[in-house]
Point group: C2
Chain length 701, copies 2
């Protein structure tokens, strides 16, 4: 349930979702839209009716991390709470050979000491507008997939541009129910975000990969940031108050956050494609990355520092996909999916009003087969698994930005639309430290993978290698490219196409060398995705017609509301308790003889006597979450913080495909343990006071 | 350069070598046969002429570990020297939850305390006989690959059986120059082998995976065993004496050991197959195993103990194959190979006497293409990557033993020939501890891999899964099979085919379920291998005709003699010294803040003051070695031990394909450091005395 940044961008062709809700809703199921909340379910099961003000308040207190995660405002002075592991990206980038903040933690006692995160952007959802009709009207019936996609992309860019010009807000048209609905989301953007506090990695990620996705659990996976405006702490109207007691057993709780992607509404054709093709290949690539990064990290502590966060992402994604694949290979789960699909198909076949959906399943399968034909090339060249280096990503972004800029708004690749320009430049010109030796290892691994995937004798591969071995070629490219320098990067970005064409930078030249082929396969994938979208939309309309629209779309890394109860479970005949305590933390460390990753920071050993060992530490709830939800606040009926989402248990790994509350649980840090640790272990009473009073203490203002 | 046991058995179809020596020999190149040693090279370069007695003495002092490695007798009382990592298999099997010998080391102060290794067999080569003519005469010209292979297998089994009956020695017909020659090797066998001493894994494998295949290096990768006969220490006539000074810079040294497999004589068709197909697929599987075992090991110390050795093998193989693949993807190396092949081809084309070799390259390529067609199935089903559990291996061995037994000797699968029966039963009925939870993890991983490789909807895969997910199926199989019990195993093994058919054991049933398909693809591979062997033999004959026979065949895990000089090298403009010292060990540990795998055993920290820190510790030489050579003695002209091979440096990883002495080096433990450590760190003066005097001290006899 970790930061999804590094891997989410690589899911490409498989990230499609669908509009078919295949089964009746389970108890606490759903990642609900804020403009279509589960009023009925909450009223009937929990007797709770959220007011419009409640919804608006929670929505505007919620924050999206562009690095891939969630968070919330927790004081009027712009204090933002999230996970240590969501902050890992920033902690890693702020680190140097001298200061390993990711490993050792960070605490700014004064505003002056708060450190700006190099390229962190926070988004707050300000409004939602349904633009489905306008988007669909732009796509003329009978056009090909390519043309339909281009038309849809153009109208979406147009809507976004108008909204940006009118409101100044970041404006994204979001595809929901995979084409069933299109909503315009407007975000307030914070790009001056500073680090306030983070614990040591040892305690933030206590138990490491072995305990990841497991429960009982003992992590203080928390970190605090502060949003700034005009060089001062942002004054925010909406922020979450701190609960006095924190989460209690059986209490109704809510999670407001940004689940990344689910595949619950996909047809069997799409699910079997995942099972037989995309998941195994992705896992094979993740295994390779994990092994490479692990081996390189072992060579020195500095290597380990540089690769830590990416390694952690690789391990996390691997474990998540492994669990997902196990679900797809489980005939029980897939049997239910199959059954529901058959039922809906036959209902559609028997109702003349739903005729447009009749061949939808077949159309999806056909489109997916066409995608499969180019999927290997697409993943290697366009998704970038065949290159693997940040330098390559930068070079390609520069090349494409220069080439797309002269084009009409609607003709550009979607990421180069005008309304996304600021965010793109913010990321591209980041001062994040990059390291030649590290980039070289990743690039050599990528190029070796390229040889494997496209074949060593492939003409393009031979051009890419330029007569060298992957290792030698990587060394040369990394040594000679100027894109490692932010100023050079800016100059290249500003150049005209013909100027860039004459620049003698090998990484830009490499990006150019593969670009026409990468664009060609991307165009095929986008065209087929559009055909799938139309088919899924037909299924969605059939479903709405039969059952009414009160449902939730698959996750899309946009703001959602989940609900559920704080509740343990029974596993192999044993009761797994709803919460753990600090006492349990010390026991678990001892049980492992304090060996990494079960070692405790010195501070925690020294302060043990000061702590109330009965303080609730981590807890589980039936709330419906998925990767991207990391850092989401867990709140009670009064919209007070009672916890902080940081993971799901091992049984939650099938939530990609279906919700279940039998054993699957969301895992959170209990709000009480955050206060206790800040006060007794970290000597940070200021932050504790800011959380409980909702404003920075006067003495430090 | 590690123990090759676990992985060597999986190289199957790719383990073919060839008879073409493509380039003139480099300086110290060659893994020479003891009956065809490099007399000319030694005389011309080093002015040394080994006598027949010298050769016989070294040969009979050398020992092969059936677990995959080398060793030597170093006292008349049967003391055997090898590596800690060659002993790892035994150390792991002797371990329990209470005693982690692999981690903590072992020392038997008295004979009574020496512990028997559950299934370790040592082989000593007693004689070599050329049987080429007899083997070739059995294969009638014009027969198909299948028939030719069956005929060859039959005559080899016949020769072995006759030799066993006559001499009582283990008798193996060895294929050399991949069909150019067939030699009968007779081995004296020791099956009562006991552990005497091994250091802590921390120091035996200091630096772990990060330092593996690297240099400078700081490992005490040594262990001692004792061969027993009739319950008493074996009295051996040939053993190596200990050198007073140990290896010195520029000294001529020899390595007598069992290199596992090289591919130096393969044609471009075989090398490109490795590059494009078998290496990438093997690496993908190794990555998966490494990731799985690493993750499982992290869950508890006991898990880590159980999986340690296999994990280490996986990492070792992965690093070795990664280096090998880098060589295959290097146009410089492959260009030279290509050039030499073209040259030989054109010489053959122009000489009517060599006509039989003209289409040999084409025949090899065609046969390899046929192998490729079934390679995925072969690796999954016959090699066993799709099952991954020791329980499955045991079940299949039982099933096949029962089925092969009634057949005529020559018709049996080769591993069930009469002359190999004792060794097979010794291995099958081993008391090595096996663990259900561990087998289950490996089996679930294997079955998931099977789904990926053959396709989930494949009819055989569906039968294997039997309506369950891979995890559930693995759990059921492991829980219910009786083969985990050695007595049940023996009873099943003794049963008749019709009795075994009615046994209700799910693992035996699973083995039976896949056996006809596994045998079918194996038969295809064996038939095509035979055709390749014939073609390679033709090339070999052409080569012998042109250049004379004084060359060496590719490695085959049989005894070979290498030679070279103790010599550092220049890397990136820096001198890499020929040896390291104990001083360097302490420096390296400190540089890594004593964090694993750079932590030192307490004993080494406590005894630092007692040690002579200038003692030479590890050293490098230009001797030509490869995996399987681990544990080989390094000796001087007087056949005295000056060191102990345990690894190659990173540049040596291309030695699979071509020898080079520019940067590639064999890495050894210096003999002086072994004595110093035994005396000053391990309080084991007895062993030191046995090494220096050649017999057990009287006080302990």
């Amino acid at each position: 349930m970790k930061n999804m940044k590094h891997w989410s961008r690589f899911t490409g062709a498989t990230a499609l979702a669908a509009a078919l809700l295949a089964q009746p809703l389970c108890a606490d199921e759903g990642m609900w839209l804020f403009n279509d909340p589960p009023r009925k379910q909450l009223r009937e099961k929990y007797g709770f009716q959220p007011s419009e003000a409640w919804l608006e308040h929670v929505q505007k207190s919620s924050v999206r991390f562009n690095s891939g995660g969630s968070g919330s405002f927790v004081s009027e002075d712009g204090l933002v709470m999230s996970n240590h592991h969501v902050g890992a990206d920033c902690l890693q980038k702020l680190g140097t050979e001298q200061h390993n903040y990711y490993r050792d933690g960070f605490y700014a006692k004064t505003l002056e000491e708060e450190k700006a995160c190099p390229d962190l952007e926070l988004n707050v959802l300000m409004s939602i507008e349904d633009v489905t009709d306008r988007v669909n009207a732009a796509v003329k019936p009978g056009t090909s997939g390519d043309e339909a996609f281009a038309a849809r992309r153009a109208v979406m860019a147009q809507i976004e541009k108008e909204s940006l010009d009118k409101t100044g807000f970041r404006s994204d048209v979001v595809t929901l129910y995979q084409g069933g609905k299109y909503h315009l989301y407007r975000y307030k953007k914070y790009t001056d975000v500073r680090l306030v506090w983070a614990p040591e990695m040892q305690i933030g990620f206590f138990g490491g990969d072995p305990d990841n996705f497991e429960y009982p659990r003992f992590c203080l996976d928390a970190a605090f940031f502060r949003a700034y405006e005009n060089g001062k702490p942002a004054k925010v109207q909406h922020y979450l108050k701190w609960s006095k007691a924190g989460a209690a057993e059986n209490e109704l709780v809510f999670v407001s956050g940004h689940p990344g992607a689910t595949s619950r509404l996909q047809t069997m054709a799409d699910l079997t494609y995942k099972r037989d093709f995309s998941f195994p290949r992705l896992l094979s690539w993740l295994n390779r990355m994990e092994v490479t990064l692990n081996a390189w990290s072992g060579r020195s502590e500095e290597n380990a520092r540089r690769a830590k966060e990416l390694l952690f992402s690789a391990q996390n994604s691997r474990k998540a996909r492994d669990g997902g694949l196990a679900g797809l290979l489980d005939p029980k789960l897939m049997g239910k999916k199959q059954e529901a699909e058959e039922k809906l198909k036959s209902a559609v076949a028997n109702d003349p009003k739903l005729a447009e959906a009749r061949d939808a399943w077949k159309r999806i399968e056909e489109a997916q087969n066409k995608i499969k034909e180019v999927a290997v090339e697409y993943n290697a060249l366009e998704v970038g698994r065949g290159f693997g280096s940040r330098y390559f990503e930068i070079a390609r972004t520069i090349l494409r930005a220069v080439e797309e800029r002269p084009k009409a708004e609607g003709d550009r690749l979607r990421e180069f639309r005008e309304s996304a320009r600021e965010s793109l430049e913010f990321d591209l010109f980041s001062a994040e430290p990059l390291y030649d030796d590290y980039e070289q290892v990743k690039l050599a691994t990528g190029l070796t993978y390229l040889c494997q995937e496209l074949g060593y004798t492939n003409a393009l591969v031979q051009k890419v290698l330029n007569g060298k071995s992957p290792r030698d070629r990587a060394a040369g490219l990394v040594a000679q490219t100027k894109v490692k320098d932010v100023n050079a990067r800016k100059a290249l970005y500003q150049s005209k196409p013909e100027e860039l064409a004459s620049i003698n930078d090998p990484m830009i030249q490499l990006a150019r060398l593969v670009d026409s082929e990468a664009r060609r396969v991307r165009k095929i994938v986008e065209g087929q995705d559009e055909l799938k979208r139309q088919a899924y939309a037909a299924i969605a309309r059939a479903k709405f017609a039969m059952e009414g629209p009160s449902s939730y779309p698959d996750a899309t890394f946009t703001l959602r509301l989940s609900y559920g109860a704080v509740k343990g479970y029974q596993e192999n005949g044993k009761n797994v308790p709803h919460q753990t305590t600090f006492e349990g933390l010390y026991e678990r460390a001892k049980e492992h003889n304090y060996r990494p990753p079960f070692d405790l920071p010195k501070r925690w050993l020294d302060r043990k006597d000061k702590l109330d060992l009965n303080t609730p530490y981590n807890f589980v709830a039936t709330t419906d979450i998925i990767g991207g939800n990391s850092g989401s606040p867990v709140i009670n009926k009064n919209a007070e913080v009672v916890g902080l989402i940081f993971d799901g248990n091992i049984h939650s790994l099938v939530l990609d495909f279906a919700y279940t509350d039998e054993l699957a649980r969301a895992v959170s840090v209990h709000s009480s343990s955050i206060l206790e640790a800040l006060r007794k272990v970290y000597d940070a009473p200021n932050i504790a006071e800011e959380l409980t009073t909702g404003r920075r203490p006067a003495s430090t203002l």
